[in-house]
């Protein structure tokens, strides 16, 4: 989001002679869009700390719990939530860890320390993925247009996380909240796919009044301020 782009550049003053780093998210040019009230809303969830953890849960699960303060998912396709910290199951020995941005560095350090001696790998992918939040009572229906996943509540309960193809892009879908009126999905996608998926999702929501989103063909990267472009 545009507000966040300024926030991060204020945080650390750059050395003299260097222009301030313009940190922005893949969807910095997009504002949240909404259809008819309560039907479908799209918003980006920018700047979370994201880590890929490769670890055998049988041998390292206990050490991870002590270091991170939450368990690894016991079953495939499930997630574990503790406050703002979340762990996704991505594979039998692969997990995605989500933490608030402010805690990310300390969290990574604690996990590395806790898993010292274990065969593992922890990679910071915070700037590799972004999350699009899809909420409202038509969220399931809109996503059904993009994917072959079974999104019926029986097949995709709360806390479920599944990797699949969404339109032409690959991503991880997580159901954070399942009540029909307040259903909230998060779709974790790669940076370069985010704008494409944003437009496809808006297109899927056209029947409920989501405004059309035009792909950002002429966006400028990094050199030009997002704000000066928008003004």
């Amino acid at each position: 989001m545009a507000e966040n782009a300024t926030k991060s550049s204020e945080a650390a003053a750059p050395p003299e002679g260097l222009t301030p780093p313009e940190r922005r998210t893949p969807l910095a040019l997009r504002q949240p869009v909404e259809g008819a009230p309560g039907t479908l809303r799209l918003a980006e969830m920018p700047f979370a700390g994201k880590f890929i953890l490769r670890l055998d849960p049988a041998s390292g699960g206990e050490a991870f719990r002590e270091a991170a303060g939450l368990d690894l998912p016991a079953a495939p396709l499930m997630s574990v939530v503790n406050g703002e910290r979340v762990v996704f199951w991505l594979g039998p020995d692969e997990f995605l860890l989500l933490v608030p941005e402010a805690e990310a560095a300390a969290f990574a350090e604690a996990v590395e320390k806790g898993l010292a001696g274990q065969h593992h790998q922890l990679v910071d992918v915070s700037d590799y993925y972004t999350a699009i939040e899809i909420s409202g009572r038509k969220a399931r229906e809109a996503l059904m247009k993009l994917t072959t996943l079974d999104l019926h509540p029986c097949g995709f309960p709360v806390g479920h996380v599944a990797g699949s193809n969404f339109a032409r892009a690959q991503g991880w879908l997580w159901l954070e909240h399942g009540e029909e009126e307040t259903a909230r999905f998060r779709l974790y996608v790669r940076w370069s796919m985010a704008d494409y998926l944003w437009c496809v999702l808006a297109d899927a929501g056209r029947e409920w009044g989501v405004p059309e989103q035009i792909p950002a063909a002429d966006e400028t990267f990094l050199t030009e301020s997002v704000h000066s472009k928008k003004a």
Binding site: P76, L77, G91, P92, E94, G163, S164, Q170
Partner: protein, 121 residues
Amino acid sequence: MFVISCPYCGARDQSEFSYGGEAHIARPEWREDMSDAEWADFVFMRSNPKGVLAERWVHSAGCRRFFNMLRNTATDEILAVYKIGERAPEVQAKLPATPCGEAPIGSGNDAVKVMQPGEAE
């Protein structure tokens, strides 16, 4: 479209998977005196049966893990799915029940198609 059962993620659409060729082909140990023919045998030669074939698949849009599958190449029936490193289970395949071994349906070779009782021409 197939529905393929990933051993980790469960039943998913075929579009999430990629094919990885025939399974259980071990890379030969390097020897100084290995002939080109031996190497070509490892690189190119495949069994290509009409019937049960063990093949590798990868769930490329989901958990991104390779696994093995036994598939009947004549009927596209998926007979078993098992993890890498496991032995192929014994399966009973319904092989094509026609005089020359063609699949009764779907082979495109209507000249040898065996009509079932009551089936219209």
